[in-house]
């Protein structure tokens, strides 16, 4: 990662811990720098502590230990209403007894802004989310997607430097969700506001974010750009959580700088990138993305043979389930254009991959 200047940092979590019951730590020693203007997503399975972290930043939960800084200021003793952080709640939390315009005017009025400015800003915010005609509707008279837009406009109307969103699209259907993803992303690009976004949906995280922090059991497993996370997962959890991957179990045989040799259970050897810090003889888990596997290869290294078990036709590509490297559901993804049409179930063919595309990671067996 590029060096970041201290003045580029907007939010800093310093050794933040959170426990609700005084025993189990829901957030364990969180250290996180959020840069000015970036779109950062907290991604992780349900219960991994994402909402808790966001709530501590918004001021609705207090850290058990550690400190959260906004700019130069420590937030530990600042009540939520003095933080000046916008937030989009999961179920929108629009005020049902106020019209859309009144909802948007609320944060401006409590700041004592004068009436003409309020009207002007509300109008601008409404046209930003294309709801100009809905100013006098009550939230209950609007669809989910429209309410979502109102919530977004309300979080932005008072021009906070930081906006938090906790699974804001969770209640929308797929098509609307994808549309709103792009809309939020474009708003972010246009306004230059810093966004911290929470989701458990990895594709949402990958499409929208500048950086993604992967949470698991109250810890950040990895924080990186979407591409970095996908191509260079640092551990098995991240490799599994983001995208699809083939996992092979083996033992480290030898290590040579960045690379290593891993012996599989069936005696085959794989050359891989040494990511996990294991000593020879220790177990490791190999991760290979299905789209990185080539069929009918002539290379010397990492060349194996496998038997075709099943074709799964998906229009633009075909997924081939193979028996290879001691794994009976080894998935290979082939674009239609490069697929050999004569290939049939039961065929034995060669397959392989480049060393850069197989990573030797920690051997943990995830309890699903």
């Amino acid at each position: 990662m590029a060096e970041t200047n201290a003045s580029d940092i907007l939010v800093r979590f310093k050794n933040v811990q959170k426990s609700y019951d005084g025993e189990t730590l829901i957030v364990k020693d969180l250290n996180l720098d959020i840069r000015k203007g970036e779109f950062l997503t907290l991604l992780g399975p349900s219960g991994s502590g994402k909402t808790t972290s966001l709530m501590m930043l918004a001021g609705f939960e207090t850290p058990t230990a550690g400190e959260i800084m906004l700019g130069e200021r420590s937030l530990n003793r600042v009540p939520p209403h003095k933080r000046d952080i916008g937030m989009v709640f999961q179920n929108y939390a629009l005020f049902p007894h106020m019209t859309v315009a009144e909802n948007l005017a609320f944060p401006l009025k409590v700041r004592g802004m004068d009436k003409t400015d309020v009207t002007e800003r509300v109008k601008r915010a409404l046209s930003m989310v294309q709801l100009d005609k809905f100013a006098n509707r009550y939230p209950g008279q609007m669809s989910g997607g429209q309410q979502q837009r109102v919530a977004l406009a309300r979080a932005l109307v008072f021009e906070p430097q930081l906006v938090l969103m906790d699974e804001p699209l969770g209640a929308l259907d797929k098509q609307l969700r994808e549309h709103m993803q792009m809309e939020i992303k474009h708003l972010h690009e246009r306004l230059g506001v810093t966004v911290v976004y929470v989701t458990h949906d990895q594709s949402e995280a990958l499409t929208m974010s500048d950086r993604v922090a992967v949470f698991h059991q109250g810890e950040i497993q990895q924080i990186d750009s979407p591409q970095g996370l996908y191509e260079h997962p640092r551990n098995t959890f991240v490799a599994n959580f983001i995208g699809e991957n083939n996992r092979l179990h083996g033992k480290l045989l030898s290590r040579d700088g960045e690379r290593c040799t891993v012996g599989l259970e069936n005696g085959e050897r794989v050359e891989a990138m040494a990511v996990h810090d294991a000593a020879p003889g220790q177990p490791v888990s190999l991760s290979i993305r299905p789209e990185r596997i080539k069929l009918n290869v002539a290379q010397e290294q990492n060349r194996f043979s496998g038997r075709v078990r099943e074709f799964i036709y998906l229009g633009d590509h075909v997924r081939i389930r193979m028996e290879a490297c001691g794994n009976s559901s080894f998935i290979v993804k082939q674009p239609i254009a490069t697929l050999d049409p004569k290939l049939a179930v039961g065929d034995v063919i060669s397959l392989g991959w480049n060393v850069e595309h197989v990573r030797a990671l920690d051997p943990v067996e995830l309890a699903e």
Binding site: A58, P79, P80, H81, K82, D84, A93, V110, F158
Partner: protein, 272 residues
Amino acid sequence: MLNPTMSPIEKVWHYVLRITSGLTLLFLIMPVLVIIPLSFNEGSFLVYPLTGFSFRWYQDLFSAPEWIRSLQNSMIVAPAATVLAMVLGTLASIGLTRGEFRGKGIIMFLLISPMVVPVVIVGVASYLFFAPLGMDNSYTTLILEHAALGVPFVIITVTATLQGYNHNLTRAAANLGASPITTFFRITLPLIAPGVISGALFAFATSFDEVVVTLFLAGPEQATLPRQMFSGIRENLSPTIAAAATLLIGFSILLLLTLEWLRGRSERLRTS
């Protein structure tokens, strides 16, 4: 609804149900209905049959000093007790629904107890408590005690309304920069208003027709309308009582309708 697929037995049951429901309603409303014509009766006895139409008992009601004073007293005590019960009860419910803490159940029980404990006991106990302090025969004491009787109603209705309140709205308001006080008046209160209003209505009704505690705590100076009716019944059974009762009934109906309208209005706002 009678529908063509009903068997004859079902039809019979349908009418039986209607008739019993009607009779039950009649039974409930009868005492109220009986008293009204008597207040317009010419004769000086509280008995049927009526002997002619007149407004004399109303004239009597609005000219006799003890009746006028009791009317005034009721108009002081009941609204004051209602406001007090409404404020205290609402604050208590908000406190009691916000999070769990030790002794919550006991506090709830204590606050509700004036409704459960026989009112005679409340009367005696408050007399024994306030008299030695020289605080019997005072408006303040009467108002305080009536408010205590009204608080449980407010707590029950407001707590019920708060069950359906989305606490994220409070968080959203804070997040948007509103102080806790602003949040309460602009967001929470408007949304729980139906519960507050219903509770206040019950509290008002409780105070407005309260006799027992008033008997113990009020001197002749503080006698409320029901208290005056009570002594009227014992001393001289004149149809003025019927006129006073009709007035009470009319006022209660008016109050009920107004508050129901208010409640319905904010309910619509809340769910629209």
